[in-house]
Symmetry: C3
Subunit: 365 residues, 3 copies
Amino acid sequence: MKTFTLEEITNITGGMLTKAQDVSISMIAPPLLADENTLALALGEDEIANLSKSRAKAALVPLGVNIDGLTTIEVERPRLAMMKLINMFYAAPEVNTGIHPSAIVHETAKLGENVKIGPNVVIARNTILGDNTQIVANSYIGSGVKTGKNCFFHPGVNIGDRVILGDNVILQHGVSLGADGFSFVTEKPDNIEQAKQDGTIKESNAEQKIYKIPSIGSVVIGNNVEIGANSTIDRGTIENTIIGDNTKIDDLVMIGHNCKVGKGCLIVSQAGIAGSCVIGDRVVIAGQAGLADHIEIGADSIIAAKTGVSKSFPEKSIIMGIPAIPRKEFIRNIKVMKEAGELVTKFKKYEPLLKEFEENNDLNS
Amino acid sequence: MKTFTLEEITNITGGMLTKAQDVSISMIAPPLLADENTLALALGEDEIANLSKSRAKAALVPLGVNIDGLTTIEVERPRLAMMKLINMFYAAPEVNTGIHPSAIVHETAKLGENVKIGPNVVIARNTILGDNTQIVANSYIGSGVKTGKNCFFHPGVNIGDRVILGDNVILQHGVSLGADGFSFVTEKPDNIEQAKQDGTIKESNAEQKIYKIPSIGSVVIGNNVEIGANSTIDRGTIENTIIGDNTKIDDLVMIGHNCKVGKGCLIVSQAGIAGSCVIGDRVVIAGQAGLADHIEIGADSIIAAKTGVSKSFPEKSIIMGIPAIPRKEFIRNIKVMKEAGELVTKFKKYEPLLKEFEENNDLNS
Amino acid sequence: MKTFTLEEITNITGGMLTKAQDVSISMIAPPLLADENTLALALGEDEIANLSKSRAKAALVPLGVNIDGLTTIEVERPRLAMMKLINMFYAAPEVNTGIHPSAIVHETAKLGENVKIGPNVVIARNTILGDNTQIVANSYIGSGVKTGKNCFFHPGVNIGDRVILGDNVILQHGVSLGADGFSFVTEKPDNIEQAKQDGTIKESNAEQKIYKIPSIGSVVIGNNVEIGANSTIDRGTIENTIIGDNTKIDDLVMIGHNCKVGKGCLIVSQAGIAGSCVIGDRVVIAGQAGLADHIEIGADSIIAAKTGVSKSFPEKSIIMGIPAIPRKEFIRNIKVMKEAGELVTKFKKYEPLLKEFEENNDLNS
């Protein structure tokens, strides 16, 4: 078991130790779960209040928080300090050394140094895995795939042919990269094409053959990208679907064919991006938000949870609603709707009067 | 093939047989699909109406339903009776006896009595499987995992290290338990932190390194929990993500890191719960509803389908809308909006009059 | 590498070649990515504008588009032509010949001619695979499953017992067919049943045992159906869940137990259909739309993205909103709400006048 002194923890977190104390820290926990050898983490108000009930002898607190009789390490940015602390105690899932006997690695595949391939992993023809890449178990890596260095694939990952991944890519359970795009065509206009033209659906529209448009593009994932459990990123039709460096994607997210997602984006769980969208750098797409196809979102924008985006927005937009509108407009609309509700009541008071005037007025005219 | 007499079925369902009849029942079906040896299930109005067209000689019906010339078993709670009937004919998916030769079970794993492990299942270091637990195929069970008795894992399940499961847990295809939480931090405030402060995004916000906050917590699943296909429950950051006893989770549901979900909850397909939420006992979260992070929902609440929950609600709340409001308020809002619409029409009538008065009034003043 | 002359491409696409030119086409690409041996695809306005900057010697364009000095193939329906072109260059994922040594095929399974089964695929008892069916890798096919001819299953697919698939069915990564339906019952009415009756939740509603209603129905998938990555289609309770011929389903879609989906439907990513719905032929369900249970949607209807459908709609409906209403009504509502907002402003102007009149009127009366 790893243990640390308070001085070591103070150094690593860049904090300020309020009182020296000889305690060996072997874990971190919220105040109520902490024991004498645990550093209590009190990042928010509730947890700070719980410190008085904690058995911990020391706590990590935001700058300026003083707790009588408790040794504290004060830090300017508690979440950043927490990240550093957790890394001290974190152990990655174990992967066997080398190639597990049950793994099926095509003879043409090229493996970098120190690559670890777990049980039941299939590596297809001509695939290249960068140094230190680890694939835990039960995953399929298609032919012509290329990964950078230090990638880590949790179990159950499926990667289609010719997908390219950068360095340090983390894939959680069940991620799908490079499934075919959802792309079809009919000989004659189908219901959607008709409805787009004139808002109606024609009587004559009988069933016709639906042809699959195969996807000959692929998926290109940048460096330091993480993709959450059971998320799906489809391959491009002709071009590639692209995810920029440092972008982080949560669980059950769908990114459609041909999308170009910028760098440093955060895409939260169950969000969906339809085909051919262009998302700028550092865009945040909150949970369950959805974007229609062919939309462009400028850099540094924030799309609120559950937003339905039906048109493009420029950089630094903060948008919400279905269909999406700028946040300011959304708030104004809520205010107006509230006033309209009040107006209904007011108007009821004046209506008899108006009615009377109207009748009199008719007589006069 | 199992067959039953009407008397046996009457006993099992606790119903009332209206007429003795010597018929051997080998299956159950809706009236239109039933043949002479099938018990017709007529639980709702449509199906009751269809009984006249059925070939079945006997039917299960709600209490008080009489069909001329048809033998019926009347039951007080038809869905409960249906459950009992289906269990008479149900056969669980077959799993090989013992450990399939292709399974890879670490030498340190401890298997209870009568554990069945199917093809290509990987069981990692120090994992403990309770008595009668069955794992069908192609699944990964990480190290230090512990399951209770009688668990049943359908194929393609991925369970991360140290996840704890109670007794009688059912996991459907492709479930992910214990993927890493979606948790990151930057050196300086990012776009979201800025926007939360003042509703805007600063000019100066260039790309900065995004650090992953690893998850050292795990997932704890109670007894009798069922989790639907391809759903994902992420591990906690420091504490565990917890799912209470008897809670049932549908397909493609996402439950974020640190969440505490109560007992006896129903969470319907494609619902999502962001990190650190606390959900009381017996809460129903309907399909595609979403909860922002750090929200508390009191026991016995119902969250309607597609609701977007942005704040906490007390027990016995029934909420809907985006953002979520109590059902009564939601219905009142709809009424007010309707009235506001009518007011627009009314006001048009009176507007010329008001204009005239205003002009006259100006003259007078 | 396959190459084609412009004449060959003109023939295959059924287009009109504007100028003969001796060029060997080895790929297709958007104008800016095309080189001299690439046919530039300029289907939309942006791409047509980019043709002037392209290195391509020839382009596919919509009928009537003339680009000075560029050889073009004009086509009436560019997407249809694109589909034909892509098929010229498409290569399906490679599957080993015959049965891979690591595949586990039950001795009772029956394989048609030219069936290919990849690594770590498990085929359970009594399963029948039609001619030319290919299963890439790491998939589970339950007992009593039956597929038609020419099916193609990408890696990581999980198919439960007794699921029936037609010819030419394509399953993308991680598809779940035949997981159990989400169906439970309690001895006494639960919170939802109570709330449906009187809109409230009773004080007395303590926790009670929740019984699973097992699913003894299965899933039946028609011919030419494609199902996207990590989508889930649950088995029926007693009857089968049915997906009609030619229906195409995107990624992360959920289709609940007992649903009957018609022919030629398009169901876009993250849409969800709760149990026992009946969807007519050629219905389009756009992304993230959701349907409550027991709803019927008539043929040729379109359900817009993010719609929440809470009641049935007849054929040729175009619906949107939460809860869903016809498109025309939705647009009218938006107009009315806008007018109500304007009315608030107008009314403020007249309110002092009305107040004055009211006071005077009171005096008079």
